[in-house]
Amino acid sequence: MTSVAHAKPAGGAHDAHHAPMSFWRKYIFSTDHKIIGIQFLFVSLFFLLVGGLLAMQIRWQLGFPGKPLPGGGILPESMVSGGVILPEYYIQLVTMHGTFMVFFAIMPLLVGVYANFLIPLKLGGHDMAFPRINMWSFWLALVAGLIMLSGFFMPDGAPRAGWTMYAPLSARPDLSGATISQKLWSISIVVLGLSSVMGSVNYITTVINHRAPGMTWFRMPLSVWALFITAILAVLALPVLQGAAIMLLFDQTIGTHFFDPGAGGQPLLWQHLFWFFGHPEVYILILPAMGMVSDIIANGSRKPIFGYHSMVFAIIGIAFLGWIVWGHHMFMSGMNPTLGSTFMVSTLLIAVPSAIKVFNWLGTMWRGNLRFHVPMLNAIGFVSMFTIGGLSGIFMAATPVDIPLHDTQFIVAHLHYVLFGGSLFALFAAIPYWYPKMFGRMMHEGIGKVHFWLTFVFYNMTFFPMHIIGMGGQMRRIYDPTIYDFLKPQQPLNEFISYSAFALFAVQFLFAFNFLWSLKFGKKASQNPWEDNGLEWSLPNPAPHGNWAPKTPNVYRGPYEFSAPEAGDKDYLPQYTKLPTDRDPVPAPLPATH
């Protein structure tokens, strides 16, 4: 693996300020935000693979119910009987696919990787505000992931109450059948929450206090704005989930009755607590993607982002409104109808800032000098897929429409359009984009383009028909749709979706191959291969330990000065380039240490 710590920085003294570190301190127990970001990247991609493998088994069962799973022989008899997936195992698959994808793949990929990697680089800092806490944040996340994974190897199998772990099913091992693994779920979530909160404290403090001279709030790139607002959401939402998970753990272990209706507990309390966390969580899963896509689209269009200020306020608006819409996950729970109406209104409102962002991306691309490099292709894919996902969200925001659609495949289609079509496409854009900064080489452009187009086609073939079968009444999380006569006519669509899903999964090996192969054999990257304006491109590739240390860059302008007349014959003008007409920013005095 290409080392990140050896390259000498562009000018002046480098890492002569400390003795050479051992392999363990440099790569394993590193406090360097870039290494930690890369550690998150490898671990999260692993969990993405785990989630994908679980999804393949789900699609097998839904597409071909009752047929033996190819390779199912390696699984124990408690999971597959004669090669056929058992219902008890199917519900574990569905639960753990959601859990791994949300908590251990997408969230760490967007936040753990890119908040860590980008924030100091894009703001001119040398590292995060609290490097050691950063290191702990990674290791806690890894431990949480391993605890969660161990659930599959427990005697009773993995948790199976859905990724949303509704009580009382999740609180009663005698009802769900999952004993130890359910408790491990709670412990894993508490540990992950700790990791998230520690990370978010770091991101927030770094963005507020560690910006280079000249990097005012409204000169920050949108990726940093989005990551900052996401960190605020995380720091306030995760603790609520931790509290709920602890209450669930206590219900299972020390005999409390929080969610047990027989003893006076309230099952709906779980739902409220979970979704009060859960809705800000989904904005945590999309906002960083939106931010990074904004940077990439501006770059690919060679134009400033259209409506930079409104983009910032839209991010803030989405985050703000995101706190008061959680009930739209509970329209069918039997909750107070007045509450239901309130949530309907707030949910419809939240479409507005999201739409502003979509129009601004289109406005950025309009009449731009478009460069269809791989990140740009994936970013445009993000915009279109996210729009579809957002539109289906509007359907469900209206409570009467949600009544037949709730807990059907329509919801599954919606969430996959925003999480895969949205967040994952944004990651397919961001990973190649900042790959040179991480590893000093470029990912292969040709493979990247083939991967994009095949993914885009198979993705839509997989998830668009889910809208249709959802409206046709196929429920979520059911083992065998064909037991219902009214669903039998839709079964060919289920098969079609499954075939498309298998193809989609297979295509991802192109990405994996590209990623791994390019580590050693990718084209060596020039300093600013995308001709971008961000501060990070003033450093060599890969970025050295300490970034600009002991110096700090000066910032002279905003992040989207593409096609600016002052730039002369170049169509970009980096934030760090000093023109003859620029004055050096005046540094602020350090805050007092008391």
């Binding site: 306030l236 609520v240 309230q266 709906l268 309390l269 409220h272 607590l273 009060f276 706190w323 008061i324 009930g327 909750m335 107070n336 109808p337 007045t338 509450l339 005095p589 350090l590 805050p591 007092a592 240490t593 008391h594």
Partner: protein, 97 residues
């Protein structure tokens, strides 16, 4: 370590022992109120909550120095409070229903 350039907002240091006395007296008042005084249940509830919030404010403003910090810092502590209120209110509305 970094050399500080200027101290934080200069102000008169509060009399911490006096604040301690206030807190002591209010705690006694709360316990007495909970037990002895023959007031209606709702009034008791409101008074107890007021006393508790007042004590909490004393600790936050004086011990935690918030009275003398700039607004940006106060905002960090203030922001979770409406969120907490929203969650509790919504779930109470649920239970009432």
């Amino acid at each position: 370590m970094t050399t500080p350039a200027q101290p934080t907002t200069t102000h008169v240091r509060p009399n911490y022992m006096l604040i301690w006395l206030y807190l002591f007296v209010m705690t006694i008042a709360e316990v007495l109120l909970a037990f002895e005084l023959p007031v209606s249940r709702n009034l008791k509830l409101i008074l107890l909550l007021i006393l508790a919030i007042w004590k909490a404010l004393l600790v936050a403003l004086f011990f935690m120095h918030l009275k003398f910090e700039r607004w940006r810092l106060r905002l960090i502590f203030i922001v979770p409070l409406p969120l907490a209120a929203i969650l509790v209110t919504a779930v109470i509305m649920e239970k009432v229903f």
